[in-house]
Symmetry: C2
Subunit: 486 residues, 2 copies
């Protein structure tokens, strides 16, 4: 369920029909470059959080067709000459990627593949499938965590994810993005994430009295005693019984750790419950809230001074409810022919959808005086690294009159080589490392980019050379198109 092996057939049929065409025409060894990126930010957020790289690497480095796969393809009518090639097929290309956990923006290449055309085509579907999912959930989680701040915030969405694997890798992505843990035990085990859990209404009801249920649970789950208080009535039954339980445990030198609210007006209930707990001498009992929460509801609760210490977020996080798709794409930017590298472009009626051609390098420009990020800056791969100490002109690639000059900056290269000739060449980071990388990366951004509503648009600019290449090619394509018509 959780492996990314055996995924050779996890591809759209057209990748295979196109591959077959190249093979039959003897064109399969053309070297190409594809960029993976996305075009617009989800949820109206000011940034996205990159997740899924580890699974992409696993998929690429273990890619192989089984005999059963090949038999199936032959049954579909694929030709022997082509399926022979698949029998020994491996991904042998190079992959450059931003680090997992990176703060990413539209139109900057997150991951770049250099490979034979047949290899580069086959992998598109799986790469986008993994990237789109995990980056979406990580971004949603980051957005939620921006609101909850230092308060423990946990993924409770397992039952509502799009199947078991979506819940499992969704939990992973959620923790990369900012969640402090998950209720999903498998995710805790597989990714070394903190796991959280309380009790259900069914549990409380299975005892004659609420108090009995609380006491039984408390006796057997020391260190993790969070009592669900809304089965009968939160303030008239649940909280008083939680207090009674806490008093009994206190006599034995033990504690109730928290209560959980799961329905009703959480602002009011939490404040009242807090008072009751404090008055009874239990200021250390924490209050957790769950039940169809998202960043908007949590922001309202926080504005109203809700006395909530911990948030559990389910459906809205794990399904990215308000925008359940990230439109990540994977586009051809260069073809090598007769030993010459030719940048490629695809036109569109919409200038913002025109692909930036060529093998490129994305940099992040950090202002050395403030330590804050000024923008991303994309150059051609063979351009010189933007030099520290010099002035750098940043200009919007569409609205070119929008410019700024950065004087004292550092340019950090965002991609690193992660796969060399089909082999992984970076170590496997723990989620904790990815989380903390994300945290540091995000801390370099101005608050204006992190705002939940109408955040400041972040600059993703092109070097002057790259901009000129792109516009030269747009002109060439126009004339190429005229030839198509003739």
């Amino acid at each position: 369920m959780s492996s990314f092996r055996n995924m050779a057939l996890h591809t759209d049929l057209y990748q295979l029909t196109m591959m077959q065409t190249y093979v039959q025409k003897g064109l399969q060894d053309q070297k190409v470059v594809f960029d993976m990126f996305f075009r617009s930010l989800p949820f109206g957020n000011g940034y996205a959080v990159y997740a899924g790289l580890e699974q992409i690497i696993d998929y690429l480095t273990e890619l192989a067709f089984s005999e059963e796969d090949i038999a199936y393809l032959e049954s579909l009518g694929f030709k022997k000459k082509f399926t022979e090639l698949l029998r020994n097929f491996r991904f042998t290309g190079d992959v450059y990627s931003m680090r997992e956990g990176e703060i990413i923006f539209p139109n900057a290449p997150v991951l770049t593949v250099e490979a034979r055309i047949v290899e580069a085509l086959l992998i598109e579907t799986a790469l986008l499938n993994i990237f789109n999912h995990q980056t979406l959930i990580a971004t949603k989680a980051s957005r939620i965590k921006q609101i909850t701040g230092k308060k423990t915030t946990v993924d409770f969405g397992a039952r509502r994810g799009h199947g078991p694997q979506a819940s499992l890798y969704g939990a992973r992505a959620a923790c990369i993005g900012g969640m402090d843990g998950t209720s999903l035990v498998k995710a805790g085990n597989k990714f070394k994430l903190p796991v959280f859990g309380t009790m259900s209404h069914a549990f409380v009801q299975s005892f004659e009295k609420e108090e009995q249920a609380f006491m039984a649970y408390a006796e057997e789950n020391e260190g993790n005693v969070v009592l669900l208080v809304d089965t009968y009535n939160t303030l008239r039954s649940g909280v008083p019984n939680a207090v009674k339980t806490a008093e009994k445990l206190k006599e034995r030198g033990k504690t109730v750790d928290g209560i959980r609210l799961d329905s009703g007006d959480m602002a009011y209930l939490s404040k009242e419950a807090r008072k009751m707990l404090d008055r009874s001498g239990f200021p250390d009992i924490k209050i957790a809230a769950s039940g169809d929460l998202d960043e908007y509801i949590i922001a309202e609760l926080e504005n109203q001074g809700a006395a909530i210490d911990m948030y559990a977020v389910g459906t809205k996080l794990i399904t990215a409810f308000d925008q359940p798709s990230l439109g990540g794409v994977y586009k051809l930017v260069e073809v090598e022919a007769q030993g010459k590298r030719n940048p490629r472009i695809k036109l569109s009626d919409n200038i913002e959808k025109i692909i930036t051609p060529g093998r490129k390098k994305p940099y992040r420009i950090i202002n050395s005086r403030t330590g804050r990020v000024e923008g991303d800056y994309i150059t051609l791969a063979d351009e010189r690294v933007p030099e520290k100490g010099r002035n750098l002109l940043l200009f919007d690639p569409v609205n070119t009159w929008k410019q700024k000059t950065v004087e004292d900056f550092e340019a950090i290269e965002l991609q690193e080589k992660v796969i060399n000739k089909g082999k992984r060449i970076i170590s496997r980071p723990e989620i904790e490392e990815i989380r903390s990388y994300r945290e540091t990366a995000l801390s370099r951004f101005w608050e204006e980019h992190k705002r939940k509503k109408n955040p400041q648009v972040y600059y993703v600019d092109l070097s002057a050379d790259l901009w000129r290449l792109k516009h030269k090619m747009i002109e060439e394509m126009r004339s190429h198109f005229l030839k198509q018509q003739s």
Copy 2:
């Protein structure tokens, strides 16, 4: 990636802490009954399509904890007495379910579990996770297919699903719900689904001329020659080149099967393209459309007389974009204590959220005169089957004045036993059988229930005995709650 084995830890932590509590208190063998159902229909649709049963059965019949799972749980602080029980843990209960592909409605038990409490708790998360996902996608697919009718309609969403497994089982569910096939090769192989594919813009661009790309593809993919015509300009370049390709192939006795539109105004473009193809003597070349389609856009295209023969639906289908979660729940309805079966209920401020207690049987009432469905009718498990030939009073369980009497009817029991003492007792149906079951089931409904906007609300009624039990228990719970307060 695609197996539902090894899923013992795919559960929320609280299931395990509650299980441990029951084990430590010696309560683990209590027999309980849980109902799985959902409370409201997604997308404003008039019905839902049940999918995921096969994976639920696989999960339940292969459930076991590995030594590694147990070591992990012990590292979390679970006690030996409890983990010893897990070492030989199997699901040994009985499961009753509606058939996969069934047309289902809110508040009727889709699946019922009778098991020891520790078994029944553990499985909640995975059951809901599978049910919520596949039923959601099957329902979305059915909704789309209601609009496209006999026109071939295909899942193209692989790259946008929530990870590989969501795309794979999403394709399965989409075909159960109504799609005629998928672009995802793995799904075609695993579930014996028809696979569809054309070519990409990158493919067209990798040739010097569009026409060369078309010809190369056509030569190598006989029988599946669908040409993507919007890379340069649909009407001025793509369609004319498709016609040229078709003419050349015709000389060799071969054919172009279709063209694909992927951008622009599809109503206009398809009508113009149709004229061009017809005028050139190719009335058999089909026109396919793709590009962010959903049932609303397709309905508009159809209203405008678009000449589209085939629809490919991606993101909006595979993510259930407009409502990416089905709120399926799993609720305790009966506890056996001292050999006596005690129905259970859970109150709520909202009467429609109050659970219907007890072990029940759902029936579908078919009007014998019309052959059409009148409503669902839920009885207690030990009530007599509603008798054919007698009058049956159906009344809304909330608004009890809404009543109708059905005179000549047949009552079809909706659930069958699918797992007996932990063992599967039904055969494994092919997707094609599930599809055709769904098709027949849906054909018995009035058009009013299938409408895309404001469909007629379908009756899900309770027998008089069940209704009385429920209301008696609501009263008892009220007094029980008063005792909780004392």
